[in-house]
Amino acid sequence: MRVAPAAVLLTTVLALSACALTRSPPTFPAPPGTPGAPAPAPAPAPAAPGTAVPPPQPPPPERAPPKQFRLGAASSALVSQAHAQGASGDYGQAAATLERALRIEPDNPLLWSELGRVQLSENNPAQADAMGRKALALGTGDASAQASAWHLIADALKAQGKNAEAADAERRASAASPH
């Protein structure tokens, strides 16, 4: 058991008080209106207002509630545009378009993976690998974002002939994958 009952209690109270959390990186909901903000973490079992503090519950199996990154509307449109540019072989334009999206949402791991894919198409596997690792770091707590980052890293390693490392990255991708 890695989480103290008191900590669970506090977490529950915090979720109930619904005040703006400001300094808890792993579980922190983004401010409303932030494009592409990760979906809010599911709150622990709610209690009716005015009732007594719920009794301590067994700690959740995860150390931090899972989150899921999504693209904001602006980024989403730019990613579609980048896909079209990439499909017609215009990788430089695709990368420039994805950079526009990244300036809007620099912390979104999905965009870093997208840009890494373009780098791979441009035959730049070292950059693809580095961007995959950037996506991996930003995607902490989002299994699906991490899985696609690992897939990218695996492909980048393969492209560099690093097959053993690529296989390892592939295994991590499967392990991270929610399915």
Binding site: L14, T27, G33, R63, L78, T97, P106, D107
Partner: protein, 752 residues
Amino acid sequence: MLALGAIGYAFYLDHLVVTQFEGRRWTLPAQVYAAPLELYAGLDLTPAALERELERLRYRRAERADRPGTYRVSGGALEVALRPARFADETRPAQTLQIATGAQGIEGLHDPSGKEVAVLRLEPLLIGSIFPIHGEDRIVVSPEEVPPLLPQALKAVEDRKFDTHHGVDPIAMLRAAWVNVRAGQIEQGGSTLTQQLVRSYFLSSRQTFSRKIREAIMAMALDAHFTKADLMNAYINEIFLGQDGDRAIHGFGLASQFYFGKPLAELDLSEVALLVAIVRGPSYYDPRRHPERARARRDLVLKELAQQGIVKADEAGAAAKKPLAVSARPAGAYYPAYLDFVRRTLRRDYHEQDLTEAGLRVYTSLEPRAQDEAERALEGELARLDKVHKKAPSPLEGAVVVTTPQSGDVIAIVGGRDVGYDGFDRALDAHRPMGSLVKPFIYLTALESGRYNAATVVQDEPIDLKLANGTHWRPENFTRQTYGAVPVVRALAESLNLATVGVGLDLGLPKVAATLTRFGLTQAPVEVPAMLLGAVDVTPLEAAQLFNGLANGGFKNPLRAVRAVISADGKAIKAFPLTVTPIATPEDVYQLDRMLIQVMDHGTGRSAHALLPADLVVAGKSGTSSDYRDSWFAGFSGSHLVVVWVGYDDDSPTGFTGSAGALPVWAHIMAHLAPRSFEQAMPESLAEVHIEYPTGLRAAPGCAQDIVAVAVPAASPPPAKPGCALPDAPAQSAEQPNLLERAKQALQSLVH
């Protein structure tokens, strides 16, 4: 014989004119653009701020947004008629955009048919050009970009018979000669537009009789070989219209930007009249230096236009009532320190001639809003600091670099307090000891060794090192005290020299030097113990490169001012794409960054919070070099990195620590950048623990006086304070004391 010679000379001039003018190619200095502003639903930009951005681009508020360059405000919506725009990656025709705005910022974008627009850029602001040493700067316009009124007005005022004469107007010349003879000096020109063109294009401006003859022959040759429309277009692009320091303003395209900050096509009658007025004497009728003279001549031009029936008398009268409406500062050369960085970047890849002549378009990362805030904060704070330090021999100087860490974009550079001065650029050229800015890199090296974490207790005690030359090195803390056993987080937050030197010596100087080099120090530091106290010279830009790696989670991106270079015919010829290189593990950098947050909460950066939004999480480090010669602050939020240096050019002591000098500048800038909190996800192998700040012992919040949250490897929790520990392994929730306090209060209110 004489006649033969004259004919020969005429043929020679004819040949010269035709060959040179036929193959004419104006030298086109590279045009440099700021980053375009991206508009999208959810952008935190108030209606007032949006209007300011439009006004920066010289959009005009109007009753109807029907002409490019105008916008209309009604209720919570803004309709803007966007000009055609050229970006690095696309060309966009003029279009109308509806922007719904609210208290939260932009709520939605729609095209005139009501279709939703997900994202759209405003055109980039022209911020300057790279003109050659002789200083001729211009923007060439095609006939379609010229308002029809301009050639009409030029003819009316300068050369009424332009359409019918053969390059010279003998009657006008005779009249001028008569006036000049009677006056005993040259008072009238009598030159046609063609002659003026010849003078500007082929000849020096000395007025001698033989040159007058030459000019007349060449004007007739030009007239014989080229159409009037061609000559008018050449005139509009060639003629000299103003001087801005070393920079000569040529052509109406640039003059329009220079005096009014907007495209030529958008000028109204009074503005066109002013430019036509300036032709006669750009220095004498300089509307910024001699507004009354310029205005009188403009009104004369307007009267002339009305008399010749080119405009209606009432229109001319209304135009004459308008003020000069010249922009306060000339467009271009706004941001000399930033342009300096752009030029240096480009000179690595281009010859001087390509930059000054080939008509390149250069797209940069400059964000005018951030640049303006950085300039304002530096000017304001240095003026305040000067008053504190009255006996100073010269005014304090300073420099600022602002980046967006994840993209590696340099969005603002201030090279000194006189921001318009194109001289010594301190942001790029002031090599100064970094002082305690070096400490984060020592502690990062310590984390990487695996032998230290934030709670590790180190000794802050006297050090006496015998150096190779036989002398003794006895560093001291700023307070001249020693603090004994302290955890690493405190040693860094309070910038304790002795504890840090102890750690650095334990790690070894080569290891620390290697970390600095890895993060972007261009010259390997001299490996002497004083290096551990920051005897390492860096420029503010270099300091920004070093800290950018910390702000970007251990990834390095070469800081860039230039994004792309486009050729005159619209082809992308050079891109500087975003690249990242892992230079430290996210785990080590995360642990360090959490300590840099404590610098702001508990240490030398804490006074900044008074100027920042209450709940903003920032991380940073102060730096002070020996004898207070240099005052530094480098720090970041989740969205911006700001580095500030304050000091004297002659290296005399400032009397300010980093916290007293650079920090207030830093905080003012950060507060105005609309920053997001620094809140990166904690890597999975780490755990957040609460420790007692003075001892480093793990303690439950509320159990001791001074508890701080730090991140440590989950596998090595710090020892617990006796009688104070939670009965658990390292706490996994990420709450920090203030949050836990609130939680406790909430808990109590529920219980009672």
